[in-house]
Symmetry: D2
Subunit: 480 residues, 4 copies
């Protein structure tokens, strides 16, 4: 399962924004490893540095030093639309009649093509094929004859899909979250200014305090130089469509999203998993690191009740196996799983094992791990999964896989269990997810587990039972 | 004296254009070492590869292999406007309503700012601060409601300054030369198609034949896949403003520009230099490589007449001293001249010497060379220069120097001689240049040696004696 | 606390050794990140590839492909002696009268200087200043007039200190462990051959089975092409001097060293830590990842007894903060701890906390973490440490710190607690360590916690109560 | 035809040697582009920096700054023996009992294998397979029980072949030239010290004065810190074996070798070429840059006599075509010659042409150029060559080609002419070469044009008519 982007915006009183943004991008690195960029504004002009690669490789000390000014935005990218090359690396910068714009985007527009055509019809020419340039051009047009807030409002009326944006108009930093709040965005305070970020862990990294989440449909404008911020609730939707998968898999455990600590949500899901499908085995162990919080909650619930399971680390992760790893030949591939996750024999041998992970996408790793545990002597291997079966693609920004690649898309749970080779398999229920995320189920986007989406996607069902008028209105006009 | 850009466009019957463009860029490398790029079109889509650095460093075998399609354009760049960074590297590519555009530009617009403001007023947003993006946006607008030729004609009516462009509209390659023909552009034929290039040496490199120069104000359209070409003379000016400095310094000696072989022009100038200011010395020697053709003509004329001078290579050039050379400390700098140009003592010692170079800009090298020749025992050092005294900046695309840096801008020839330390100094006359370039002097741009320019430059004189109606008309409308 | 080297040797029946060695080095990457290298032998000649950097960066697919032959050795390096540059990267290769030698060394000789002088007196010249070249030259000399086993025996009689060596003499791979067994080395079997490695996790990575540890003073000779192996017990010491710190900190938890799984040893130490100095707090949390196994045992023991503590992950580690990270300015440094380890507020706020780590060296991180936990609202912070107080340097190959830098070297436990700012502090006892490692305490090297060493170190005490005759004998002759 | 190495040694009063050595290596870059290195000594220790690549790429400003000390040596390498990898890059450094040694070697030993075996028999182990390590080890042994001069003398008695060495023993820089003086080496003086270099152009680059050539068999010892130098004539051979090809092709034209300016020697050879085989054609043109001095002398002689030829530059060299150039596909290869050397049509068309080059090795370029000149309309193409026909390999350090690849090895002049396609072909005679180099022919090594060598080469003839007693004596002992 692949990842998506992270955005950050910073406005400070009297120090350069670049270094704090650099640290914030480190804190958001898990959201995108393809490219990293920072754009700052020093009151007179924009400075930009965008490069392919990890944050640590993309910036030298000298690069940071040249990014002058106390206001700025940053971005880490994992591509979900647009070509996988440098022309789509962000922040995306343009200059236009009324100044300069910089944009960091997390999400995926569903009507980018139509909007692009509309702008092209007015004479616009595009240097990339990404969503972000389309938003930038539309916003630039609207800023020609409107103030900042009304220009953003008009652009928001046109773009349809998921987006959390950190925008810089000259030296003013904005945060904008789509009306359904699909992607996270939060606002924090540091000693001498304000911070917008995809996740609160980035605010922590700056020793700041989380103020609150940016609301769905809200525009937050940071006054230049850390002077304060203004809120504009541009759209107030009846329902949101927050991505449940951020909580289950994507976000950092130490981030608080929409009021809930991700780590606690996962522990709670682990507890519910025990309640729904707990099985007494000698040992409960997580797939590191993604299954750890689930397994901890699961084991705790087990021991609180009548169960008596041992929570143990039974798989050791090799943190050095990364992108430059030379893939083994076909017949060595299976062996090479042990390079990444090596079982601790004493934890497993002759024992019944419950293995806990956050999700099953293609099922490859699960299959290999079950085989590996049997190889080192596990008596039984039971699989418990912290999210429901994933049966449909994501159109909102997470590059999961095509429907054909999704193991559960065309298989019953029993068929999946058989494919993977586990002794038993249970997913958590959709109800438990909605319950754990402490929200009206109608406020969650669960398209990938239901196949029904909160946006009109060609060829896909809409979750019609939910009224989403503000968005439908926007969407209608954008689709004309 | 710095250099400017080289452009190339290629349309072939049934082989990929990328490799021939790559070779052509090698042949034009002297026109720009900052970045290199190729854009091709395979009939369905554009492919682009643009990188900082020399041609040989910018492209790998794999890069070339991915640039599919028999039609394409290329560019080597030395920046004359726009920031010195990758955002200005070319060809510049955009997609717009009616397809894709790629542009390779050599020259300098004098009204880019005004045109940019005009487009920004219509809502355009720009990703770079270069001329080329402005041309691309304007052309894209004009192509919305016009055919190719009329769209180019309307853009030509707006842009003012020097430009030789290789343009790709989808799979159609165009060549466009400004109405005053300031920068060179020529058309050639290869076995299976056609080539547009800044200099004919690039056509030679493809084993092609030069057909002719593109005329000032002419648009040449290459049919896709090498099928043929069409000519459209969009503007027919009364007078041109061809850059004499291309012939004297910038172009390759083996290129033919506007009908004249550069090597022969330089030899002819050398002969005239003898006629105007020849002096009998023991030896005549060029500053390599720039003075060689002049010195050869000078010596020949001397020996044809009553003179008897020996032509000799007295300065050996170290071809390895390049960009990565670590500059010496101040007191070692003078010594380091000998690293680049080492005198051959036996050629110089106890002899009277005539040293011949193409031009004097800042005068630094000339001063050092005269001192060096005296150090190794030259009895006298006389300097003869193949261009008139350079007294004013170039606004048309050659990054010579600011007026303050030009040694002759505020000094008489005698004062320049004294600064340089030569026993005598003579420049060639402006008349001789006009005569050698076999043209009406009114058809040359000699702004840098007269201070009077063929375009309206703020704060500079125009060479009013020449009527340039077509351009004035364009200029007027563009300046509104 | 820095790390040291990892070695591997492989002999296979009919496939190239390079790829398995590459995987094994990945499994040993935690033992050294400065350089990586592989040397193979194809029966006719040696092939070598050694580069600075991580395994993943040091080898391309092409590099692996060129390393022909079914027999080879590998190395990852963290420097403990010798300059920190490429001249010390290993394996170290030499050719000599009787063929070629390749050496991968983990450890530190205490008499390298004397032996080097001795060889220099015989005319030897050295290209590096590392231990390994000295061993190579001595072994080459001894091979001139002796068979392999007796040559190794003679070299072993001369070199004094810690060493685990993978050696390749032509196509024969050897494993050699010093008579006191200070550094680990083990022997494993794969489908088609044999493997020697610093840790058993490297054998797991090749889907192999651990046979046993190489004994202190033992030479294991792998027959070429995976045909088998021979054992030669060259020295049988009365006592060993195994590094306890391998078990506590350095080795992977999933490795088995000298018969004991590291993960279990750490859990057992955690249990003992509760027994010795357990304290009831609301929550027990590890410093990730090093404290996790200790904390797990500690919490388990607490809950088995009368305690009732919650085991929780309260600090989230950012796995992206690595070597290229730009260090913050002084006043940002404290903030930046949160980049690496971010506390989960809900786990900590208003709670009494026991924080568990493996060791305290300089104390910097401990101090920062205690402050960080208080900042996010911890009511109390108690520190429990899985190793005794480190009061003296290591001379055997672990680059801990100088005595001045060791926090506990000149401070009582109460003074260390005060410096760190914890509410209480307790180390595990030396007896508990000896007990947990299931061994006679006299067989462990505990120099860094006792200040008494199993080797003569100038200016340091020897643990005289232990008789180590074989070694003393060797040492005496080497020190002459 | 490939090239060989350049060496330099510098001793200065009170400034760092590294920067001057860096400049000197730039001046010698034509002698080797594979690697570059500098070793200095600051009175206490050696500093070394050796890297693959060109001088400008191998050293950063920081690298230069770290090379402390006023004494040092440098090297540029083109491999003639030893593997083509970094283990053979020089200077080669070793430390031994009596200090440190650094060696820069130009040449090729013919008995390196035997000497290596001898040292290996004494226990030496080697890290490379190059000549230089063998010399270093032997010298280190001899320095154990002898003073510097006698140690060098003993080593000189053992090594047989061509060598010009810059050696650094601690802070003392030595220059050593083999008894037959096969490779050049000269001594110069700068303001504050002394310089040893392969060519005098390197001394010029430091603004120094050439004192004289180092004599065959001479050892020059530079006192540390520029204090002076001592000469020791260790061997005085009856005859030398100076490489005539240095003068004809390899050395810079502005260098003086063994008392003769290379440029003048080539001009003189050009004059003799006219005398021997001059032919009246419309134009005489050099293959740039190698044929230029020959062509200048040839044309001069022609015009002094009864001839009347025009000297012209008819081929323009593209200086950017270098190592990174992507080779064209087979059928494009011929076209690509024009990328490197483009004919000036006006100089050639309908004219009879004499093309002058320094030598013919494989004949590929000559064949292509003749065809190219005919393609652009040359009426006749006559080839005149400044060296005799090359019929045999070089064993002394120039990597020409194998005998099979040498066009003239198995062909008569008429057959070569036919292969190349010229209208006529003439080489200069061996007598003319000996005469032009102002020396007894017996003092030249002309092995590549006679097939008879001044050293015993297995399978090759020796030029027995010349008595070379000192060397034979040495050789005899070395071959035992």
């Amino acid at each position: 399962m692949d990842e998506k982007c992270g955005v950050v915006g910073v406005s400070l009183a009297d120090r350069a924004a670049a270094r704090p943004i650099y640290y914030a991008l480190y804190a958001l690195q898990h959201r995108g490893q393809e490219s990293a960029g920072i754009v700052t504004h020093d009151g007179f002009q924009q400075h930009s540095h965008v490069e392919m690669g990890l944050v640590g490789d993309a910036f030298s000390e000298a690069d940071i030093a040249e990014l002058n000014g106390p206001n700025g935005i940053g971005h880490v990218r994992y591509p979900t639309s647009g070509s996988v090359d440098s022309s789509c690396a962000q922040p995306f910068s343009v200059s236009f009649k009324s100044g300069s714009l910089g944009l960091s985007h997390n999400g995926n527009l569903v009507n980018a093509g139509a909007l692009r055509d509309e702008l092209a019809g007015l004479g616009h020419a595009f240097t990339s094929d990404g969503d972000t340039e389309v938003i930038a051009h539309d916003l630039a047009r609207n800023l020609l004859d409107g103030d900042l807030v009304s220009a953003v409002e008009r652009t928001m009326g046109k773009i349809h899909g998921s987006y959390s944006l950190a925008v810089m108009h000259d030296d003013r930093v904005l945060g904008l979250r789509d009306p359904q709040g699909n992607r996270p965005l939060c606002l924090g305070e540091v000693e001498d200014g304000y911070v917008l970020a995809s996740e609160s862990a980035a605010i922590d990294a700056l020793d700041g305090e989380l103020i609150r989440d940016v609301e769905p449909g809200e525009l937050v404008v940071l006054e230049p130089d850390g002077a304060g911020y203004e809120s504009h609730r541009l759209v107030e939707p009846d329902h949101t469509a927050r991505c449940f998968f951020e909580h289950v898999y994507f976000a950092r455990p130490d981030s608080t999203i929409d009021g809930e600590l991700v780590y606690e949500a996962r522990r709670e899901l682990g507890r519910k998993l025990w309640d729904e499908s707990g099985i007494d085995t000698d040992v409960v162990m997580p797939v590191p690191d993604s299954g750890r919080a689930f397994a901890s909650g699961y084991a705790e619930a087990a021991n609180e009740g009548d169960g008596s399971v041992e929570f143990a680390e039974g798989l050791m992760k090799n943190r050095y196996v990364g992108r430059t790893f030379i893939m083994p030949t076909q017949d060595e591939r299976e062996r090479a799983v042990r390079l990444k996750l090596n079982p601790i024999k004493s934890t497993v041998e002759n024992k019944t094992v419950t293995l806990i992970d956050d999700s099953i996408v293609r099922g490859t790793t699960s299959t290999q791990l079950v085989e590996l545990l049997r190889d080192v002597g596990a008596a039984e291997v039971h699989l418990r999964i912290g999210s429901p079966a994933i049966v449909a693609p994501c159109y909102m920004g997470i590059d999961m896989a095509s429907r054909e690649e999704l193991l559960a898309a065309s298989r019953s749970t029993e068929e999946v269990r058989e494919t993977i080779g586990a002794d038993s398999l249970a997913y958590i229920s959709q109800d438990a997810v909605a319950d754990a995320l402490a929200t009206d189920r109608a406020d969650l986007c669960m398209g990938c587990v239901t196949g029904e989406y909160p946006y009109d996607i060609a060829g896909e069902a809409t979750d019609r039972e939910v009224s989403r008028p503000a968005i439908n209105g926007n969407r209608a006009s954008a689709d004309d």
